[in-house]
């Protein structure tokens, strides 16, 4: 495939092979996005189950998030009198921008035409768009809790985003592109090489993912304790289908980070061609990877305690400096001048 890219000068060929004209690749991309949406509550359910197991509880069944969503979709939506139109459209925008973000991530196959439409910087942009409306929605009702959540979310995201981009830059500098599918393909071809910079980037990105998805030790998704909540504080006024969409986007975002981390740093198993065995294999691989990643997250959430809000910047600074160290080690150790 690389040879095909090198020899061709035509635009469409140069964008990740000839995927753009391949209807199967498009079908695959759409299926992949659907799979993402369908599987994300399962991932949340699995994390809950693992945590319950670690805390010696039986816990809710793994399928509980689906039941919650169904229940919420069936309920009537109550909207506070004080809110404006922003509050009502925010859930849809948050959900659809997260959906667009997941559409450009290779879940099972790297032959992803959507990866050429939007690269990883655009992906970060989509997430920022969703967060923008989430934070506005928090301010819309005019309550103190909503404002508090919005304010804290702003602080955390403005510290987390540079760290995330720095980690991504390490990848981009290694493979010389920000096209996600191409990047994963290239790092697959490089074979199993342990790069010190990737190790730093992995840790940094894990830390950022924990912060961005509102998990312990930054935020606790299962709490409604007024003074410690961040993400939940912004959702406080939501109910019914609005809340369902917000919750669903949150689990979608969690899965997004999981897939991003596992496919960038452990790309093995992902399908590079559109054949049935390869895709089945890839599906199995990604489920396995997420399965393990979720257990690690559950373990860390059980072991760690939530930190004070004002410790969060230090945590994120650490992530940023790890990424910076990764950058330095990339420049010092891995670049041949």
């Amino acid at each position: 495939m690389i040879a095909a890219i090198a020899s061709s000068d035509i635009l469409l060929d140069s964008v990740s092979g000839s995927d753009l004209l391949n209807p199967f690749a498009w079908l695959m991309a759409i299926l992949q996005a659907f799979l993402f949406v369908l599987l994300s509550p399962l991932l949340s359910g699995w994390i809950h189950k693992c945590k319950a197991f670690l805390q010696n509880r039986r816990g809710a069944p793994v399928l509980q998030p689906y039941r919650d969503l169904r229940k919420l979709f069936g309920k009537e939506a109550i909207v506070a009198e004080t809110t404006s139109i922003i509050f009502r459209i925010a859930p849809y925008i948050v959900f659809s921008s997260t959906l667009l973000a997941v559409a450009v991530i290779p879940l099972v196959a790297t032959m992803l035409p959507t990866a050429a439409i939007a690269d990883i910087i655009v992906l970060i942009g989509f997430l920022a768009l969703g967060r923008f409306f989430l934070v506005l929605a928090g301010l819309d009702a005019g309550t103190a809790f909503g404002g508090m959540g919005s304010s804290r979310e702003t602080m955390i995201s403005s510290m987390a985003e540079p760290a995330a981009l720095m980690a991504i830059f390490i990848l981009a500098m290694t493979v010389h592109t920000t096209n996600l599918a191409a990047a994963i393909e290239l790092s697959l071809q490089n074979g199993f090489v342990i790069r010190p910079s990737f190790l730093f980037a992995l840790i940094a990105l894990l830390m950022v993912a924990v912060a961005e998805t509102g998990r312990i030790p930054i935020d606790n998704p299962s709490t409604h304790l007024e003074l410690t909540m961040i993400h939940e504080a912004m959702l406080l006024e939501y109910s019914g289908r609005h809340l369902a969409l917000m919750e669903w986007s949150a689990s979608l975002k969690l899965m997004l980070y999981g897939v991003l981390i596992s496919n960038i740093f452990f790309p093995w198993g992902i399908a590079t061609e559109l054949t049935v065995p390869a895709i089945l294999m890839a599906l199995l691989a990604i489920i396995l990877k997420l399965f393990v990643l979720a257990m690690i997250l559950a373990l860390s959430e059980t072991v760690l305690a939530k930190m004070r809000v004002f410790r969060a910047p230090q945590y994120l600074n650490l992530a940023f400096f790890l990424a910076l160290l990764g950058m330095i080690s990339h420049l010092v150790l891995e670049v041949h001048v």
Partner: protein, 679 residues
């Protein structure tokens, strides 16, 4: 004579005519002030149409027009030239002038009641616009400096338009002072070039070859001079003082356009006159450091302001920082011999200049509508405006999304281009640059995230929630002309975010003419795709971004979503009292305030600010005072001010009051000068 020639001079002429027209009302102000006001703004609008038309025509046809007007000094007539670079900036001026002209008439009515001198406003507005147009058209240093000073001086009178307020007079004084120091620096920069070229015309300066020392000196003068006008840190202090106090349509012109004219000057001087071959990458390093500092500093202070227009002014500082990042990258890549990447940085910078002109004008005009409708400037007194001014709120939201650089609007595109340029740092041999460039990109990422925070704060506190004062509760929607201006700019925010490839193909003519080479990879693209750089001989799959397809994706998702949701029948919502965790119903004063919103960030970045905070406790009430002062005053200006006073005190030693001593000093000076000349 080509038709372009006529149109751009007509543009300048109409701007001057509009200045004169507004003086008409001096003769009989009582009878038809409104008519005169309208006439003046109409002329200004038509002038904008002509400017935009001639600018875009030049970009499309690439017909360069040169002419000499027998005017000015006998041995130095006015040289005027419209090339692609001038055409682009002339287009920006015209583009923003059109909405300003539709916005102005109803916005300015208010000043008539407050007893301000409308003719003064109209006169200097026209002069200001004509000055800006002449700056970008000038083809010799003499014309350039005259136009530059016309622009600076007339904008001084616009800043001090509401001169009864002492704060405005102070802002005007600082502006005047800084504008002149900057002007002096620019003059010295031209002086270096003219000294070697033996001529003031740009054509002669272009062909001069300088030693690295003199090239760097000229660049330093120009960077300081133009940078002062553009508002780079720490030379920015006049900007957050002066831009907010002018009337809002003038703020839009100053922030949206005048800063771009300064950017034009910097580009013309560096890439046009000094020339690409004489660029050293060390300049780029300086520009990158200052640019990233400016971007971060601007956005952090934007987060700390309460005045809606000061927030926007500090955000202009931030955006100039982003433009400087593009410029710095361009210089670094040119200086290290990577011309294609240099062009890419240059294009990113131009694109962001255009974008900032559009969304900052939109936001300043929107802020003007808000102030017009509520008589409040402090966001802490606002709230709930979206329900009272729905259209203004909608257009303002588009501006906010654009400036927060979120896809699919225009601000995102230029930042994406800068990121892509920065990520090509692996082509550079120097290790320090390889490390520095991603670091500045990380600063850009942080700036972007903080800008989202700053504008969420601005929009959330002022347009959402509950109104905090009576004025705001009674706010009214802006008039048709004002709304048209906002809608027009919002459309451009959207279009520039989607039609990226055609716009870039057009912009590509600028480096093509100025430097002699465009970005090769742009010509073969279809309008759907943006793929900035592709090495044909390598296996690298380039990064790409296709805003139209992203838009299509958004459309599909929404279509699908609405179909799914329409099938279900529970689309009703019930309105109820706000829940807020079951506490008592919150009132407007219990909302989060803007200062509370930015408190976590104030705490994280406390090293950046001079914060004074105190709480006064009384019997039954307590008051909280918080001031956040610009650090550069203490760190940069006060030492300079003190040392100027110190030197002045010691220089007075020669001032004995004795005429013979003075004559002796004069003689000594003449002897010294003669000696210097004879060297």
């Amino acid at each position: 004579m080509p038709p372009v020639f006529d149109t751009f001079l007509i543009g300048v002429g109409l701007a001057l005519l509009s200045a004169l027209a507004s003086l008409l009302s001096q003769f009989n102000i009582r009878r038809w002030p409104d008519l005169v006001n309208r006439l003046s703004f109409t002329l200004l609008g038509i002038s904008g149409l002509f400017a935009a038309y001639s600018g875009i025509t030049q970009l499309v046809t690439q017909e360069t027009t040169e002419l000499v007007i027998p005017f000015g000094l006998p041995w130095l007539h006015w040289h005027i030239k419209l090339d692609a670079l001038s055409g682009f900036f002339l287009f920006i001026i015209g583009l923003v002038l059109i909405p300003v002209a539709t916005y102005g008439p109803s916005y300015c009515k208010e000043f008539r009641h407050s007893g301000e001198q409308l003719p003064v406003l109209g006169f200097f507005t026209g002069l200001f616009v004509a000055g800006m147009m002449m700056v970008v058209l000038a083809n010799d240093a003499y014309t350039f400096m005259i136009a530059w000073e016309v622009m600076s001086l007339s904008s001084y009178f616009l800043v001090t338009f509401q001169h009864r307020n002492p704060a405005n007079r102070r802002a005007g004084f600082i502006y005047l002072l800084m504008a002149h120091i900057g002007g002096l620096s620019i003059l010295l920069g031209y002086g270096v070039l003219a000294g070697f070229a033996d001529s003031f015309t740009f054509d002669a300066m272009q062909h001069v070859s300088l030693s690295p020392f003199w090239a760097s000196t000229a660049f330093a003068f120009a960077f300081i001079g133009f940078g002062m006008k553009a508002g780079i840190v720490p030379l920015h202090v006049w900007l957050p003082e002066a831009h907010p106090v002018a009337p809002s349509h003038i703020s839009a012109l100053m922030s949206g356009v005048m800063l771009k004219v300064a950017v034009y000057g910097m580009v013309r001087f560096t890439l046009g006159l000094i020339g690409v071959d004489q660029i050293q990458w060390q300049w780029g390093v300086v520009v990158l450091i200052i640019g990233s500092g400016t971007a971060l500093y601007g956005v952090l202070y934007a987060l700390m302001q309460r005045d809606i227009k000061r927030i926007l002014a500090y955000s202009s500082v931030e955006n100039i920082g982003i433009i400087m990042l593009g410029f710095g990258l361009s210089l670094v890549f040119y200086g290290t011999g990577h011309h294609q990447l240099g062009i890419m940085g240059f294009l990113a910078m131009l694109y962001h200049s255009l974008n900032h002109a559009v969304f900052k004008s939109l936001l300043f005009l929107g802020a003007g509508s808000v102030i017009h409708g509520t008589h409040e400037r402090d966001i802490e007194h606002m709230g709930g405006l979206l329900k009272r001014m729905p259209w203004t709120g909608l257009f303002f939201l588009i501006g906010v999304i654009s400036i927060a650089s979120l896809p699919p609007f225009n601000g995102f595109v230029s930042e994406w281009l800068i990121f892509q340029t920065a990520l090509h740092n692996w082509t550079i041999e120097q290790g320090i640059l390889r490390f520095m460039i991603p670091s500045t990109a990380a600063v850009l990422a942080m700036t972007g995230a903080l800008a989202v925070g700053a504008f969420v704060r601005l929009y959330g506190i002022s347009f959402l929630g509950l109104p905090r004062t009576q004025h705001v509760r009674n706010a009214h929607e802006a008039s048709g002309g004002m709304l048209f201006a906002l809608a027009y700019l919002a459309v451009f925010c959207f279009a520039l975010g989607i039609l990226v490839a055609p716009v870039l193909a057009l912009l590509n003519h600028i480096p093509d003419q100025l430097i002699g080479a465009g970005l090769g990879s742009l010509n073969e693209r279809s309008w759907l795709w943006l793929i900035p750089i592709r090495e044909t001989d390598s296996a690298i799959v380039p990064a790409s971004y296709s805003p139209p397809l992203v838009l299509l994706g958004i459309g599909l998702v929404w279509l699908l979503g609405s179909i799914i949701l329409h099938v279900r029948k529970n689309r009703k919502v019930r309105r109820a009292e706000v829940w807020d965790c079951g506490f008592s119903t919150p009132n407007a004063r219990m909302q989060y305030t803007g200062m509370a919103f930015s408190m976590p960030l104030r705490r994280v970045f406390k090293g950046f600010f001079t914060i004074e905070e105190k709480v006064e406790r009384h019997e039954d009430t307590s008051r909280h005072f918080l001031t956040v002062e610009d650090r550069s005053w203490k760190m940069f200006y006060q030492p300079i001010g003190r040392s100027v006073l110190f030197i002045a005190r010691h220089v007075t030693l020669i001032q004995s009051g004795n005429i013979r001593t003075y004559l002796a000093w004069s003689l000594a000076t003449i002897v010294l000068l003669l000696w210097l000349v004879s060297l």
